[in-house]
Symmetry: C2
């Protein structure tokens, strides 16, 4: 590796030394973001946005297969509308951005930039839903939202972020519950299959649920440093919002009924999850299915006769993949380090000697394995390697999750497990908010979820020792 390549990599802090700084180095040096003039508002640069475009593509396809259609609702919410549902306004009002002037005129009522759009969808559905024939309504929107967070970090917690928010209305509670769970499974499958990230599926406690929801479900992922990241959520609102907004339909029985609602969302935070699950000390490692560039061809001694020509033909042969050729005038060493930083799954090295021998070298980003391949078999080999990398990345992440999930049956074991942040700790809980609060205060950890897959670790709560029937995943969270 040439000197300039070494320099590029040496600019990243080692993740073992300082994981937080490693993360910041990666998001900036890999060209994913740059900071703007306003705290918590970031520029998502082309390399970062291209990942988001692929996340959108895969998620949107999965949504549409379940009957979701997209729409677009306003960016601003009148204060009076935000206030209609009591829990919701309490949850969001302290962290919204307020618009007070339109042009040179003060507004008669303040509008907030949407932090989420439940109130807007409710107002819209009130006008759209009259009869059982108008149900279900299954809409989604892709947009940006603003929440005035105090502490901010690129992708993980920003004042503005991009997301999708689905909002549905149904005739019965059961239908709403079914949709809530269906969308949680869409997220879990997407995370596993497209992002190579295994998750724990479960329900949030009353303390941690969404403002205004009857039940919040979550998919929780484990980062490389042992911290948990809530990766997507799906909420069943029951008929609470419908009652606050008076959304009623005439049933087959000719009587008026309130609808039952859900909402579900995933954000640019997924990019943060991907960085912290798969990245290493050389930078990003992108799962092939969401890698904007899957294969980069790097010609060696590219000025020698025939090298660029052969590389160009290879690019043509790889047209079914997201392949590129780096024929810039930078050194191969720089290119190698740069592409490793950017997480490109496969690199193909091809120089005069390779061409003479009719072969090239394919290098995997995830394992650094070098694979010799005949030039005319490159497309077949790439077609075989990309899904293998995707699977291997998932398997490694799953192994990390499994080996960093611990069980605690006593307070001592629980305390011991959280002396360092190593991963999830499973423990029994009595169900009391007081114990949940105490655990948070004593160990700075939060209940991540009550997993759907319950185990009976012991009969008693790790906090108070009283009888317990629920097993909870605890963790230090982003």
């Amino acid at each position: 590796m040439a000197q300039d390549g070494k320099k590029l990599v040496s600019e990243i802090t080692s993740m073992d030394e300082d994981f937080t700084q490693w993360y910041t180095d990666v998001v900036t040096k890999a060209g994913l973001i740059s900071y703007s003039n306003i705290k918590g508002f970031m520029v998502i640069k082309p390399a970062g946005y291209a990942i988001w475009e692929l996340i959108q593509k895969h998620l949107d396809e999965r949504f549409k297969k379940t009957g979701v259609t997209n729409a677009y609702l306003p960016m601003l919410i009148p204060e009076s509308l935000l206030q209609k549902e009591k829990d919701h306004v309490e949850g969001f009002a302290p962290e919204v951005a307020w618009v007070t002037h339109g042009g040179t005129e003060p507004l008669t009522e303040r509008y907030c930039v949407r932090p989420t759009s439940e109130t807007l969808f409710c107002d819209y559905y009130k006008g759209e839903i009259h009869s059982y024939k108008d149900l279900p309504q299954v809409l989604n929107q892709w947009c940006s939202v603003v929440r005035w967070e105090k502490e901010t970090r690129p992708f993980l917690r920003s004042r503005e972020f991009l997301w999708q928010e689905g909002h549905t209305a149904h005739a019965t509670f059961e239908e709403a519950e079914e949709r809530t769970q269906q969308m949680l499974n869409v997220y879990a499958d997407f995370l596993a299959e497209d992002m190579a990230i295994p998750v724990i599926k479960g329900q949030k406690t009353e303390k941690e649920k969404f403002a205004g929801a009857e039940a919040t479900y979550t998919v929780e992922a484990l980062m490389h440093d042992g911290r948990a990241l809530q990766s997507a959520t799906s909420h069943n609102f029951g008929d609470g919002f419908a009652k606050a907004f008076e959304i009623q339909y005439a049933g087959k029985d000719n009587k008026l009924h309130h609808v039952f609602q859900t909402s579900w969302g995933a954000t640019t935070r997924l990019i943060g999850a991907m960085i912290m699950v798969h990245g290493d000390n050389s930078g990003l490692v992108l799962p092939p299915r969401i890698a904007p560039v899957q294969v980069m061809i790097v010609p060696i001694q590219q000025k020698k006769e025939g090298v660029l020509e052969t590389a160009g033909k290879m690019l043509e042969a790889l047209k079914d993949f997201r392949a590129k050729l780096d024929d810039s005038d930078r050194s191969p060493g720089y290119k190698f380090a740069d592409q490793e930083m950017r997480g490109i799954p496969l690199r193909i090295e091809i120089g005069p000697k390779d061409i003479e021998a009719g072969k090239c070298v394919i290098v995997r980003r995830d394992t650094r394995e070098k694979i010799e391949c005949a030039i005319d078999e490159v497309a077949a080999k790439v077609g075989e390697l990309l899904p293998k990398i995707q699977q291997d990345m998932y398997d490694r992440a799953k192994n990390h999750l499994d080996t960093h999930t611990f069980a605690a049956t006593t307070k001592e074991e629980f305390e011991e497990a959280f002396k360092e942040t190593k991963g999830f700790v499973k423990a029994m809980w009595c169900g009391d908010r007081a114990c949940e609060d105490k655990i948070k205060e004593d160990y700075s950890v939060t209940s991540r979820c009550i997993p759907f897959e319950q185990e009976n670790l012991s009969g008693t709560c790790v906090c108070c020792g009283k009888p317990a029937t629920k097993m909870v995943y605890w963790g230090r969270a982003y």
Copy 2:
């Protein structure tokens, strides 16, 4: 047609009677939008948003073919940043929405919701561009923007709208000019080929150009009522913004140079253009390439044995198209009228008698022509009809444009031409702002553009009679 179908159509005002009301009726009855609580902020409903998704898909593909990549910049702009370019702030400050509070705290500086993002891109490029190797920068973003307009109409002039805004930086003025023209051509081709809308390409006058631009180019379309609609614009900024924001690069000569910039945009207004170019008294008429549903199969007497089965097989045979089957329990008459309202290019009617005879009836939305077709030849016939409809729609719009463009060589002819709003009027202009202002005041028309295709209609300005070398398109605009 059944009674309920008649009723649906009778709800639309005739376009000859009241074009404005016809437009409002169509956007609401065809389910494209609904109004929100805030004036000028609309809900884009699924039927409207699906059209926008197809516009995005086609435009984005065309952009990417020219080397554009997407990014995302913040939604908010600090007041101090907006003020950096004098003309720009004068143009936009009076019509922006101001955020003054984040959560419960007043901000130390006001932020405006972006009305356009020149200042943000300049601030970003200042940090990214150092050497000639960093050029060109060719970015685009898809987002929503807010401009506090006084008069609002769905899609045509709304306080919030969706759009794309491309922003580029180049080493030379010539390169910037080339990109400006290239993107104008992308818009013109997209409008002609995907939206079936012919346009006049030209340059805006000094009076009408974008705030801060050196030159603004435009594609102007003619609506059914004879009014003009600016459908997309492309701006060459020269180095004006670069000087205000100090964006400099070290050239091959090792000296510092200011970059040259462009921007170009198209908005949800394109949906308004499409409605007003192609619509008729039964509602929308969608060009096949941007029709979310291209073919709707309507079973007749669908409860009779074999009807739904045959219709279902036909849907399967049409899988290469955006086809749907309307098996709802509404009457065929209602379905016909509803689909006409929604502008679906082709309807296929299939009932027991048709099935017995092995045929079906295909009905074109644009001409209402009924075409008998063998059931097993439906896919081939649809594949032949959709591009034909697309072309016919373009040809009719082109014919309308040509027959509604008039030439005036004297003040009297000019006045006569604008007694009613019939279309564009071409006339010679001396180039003086005073004449442009006078024409606007006297006839309530504006200069649409100085077209690239110039004609020498006469030697003198229609307003002042002085020597003139420029031919201008004038029109009443939306």
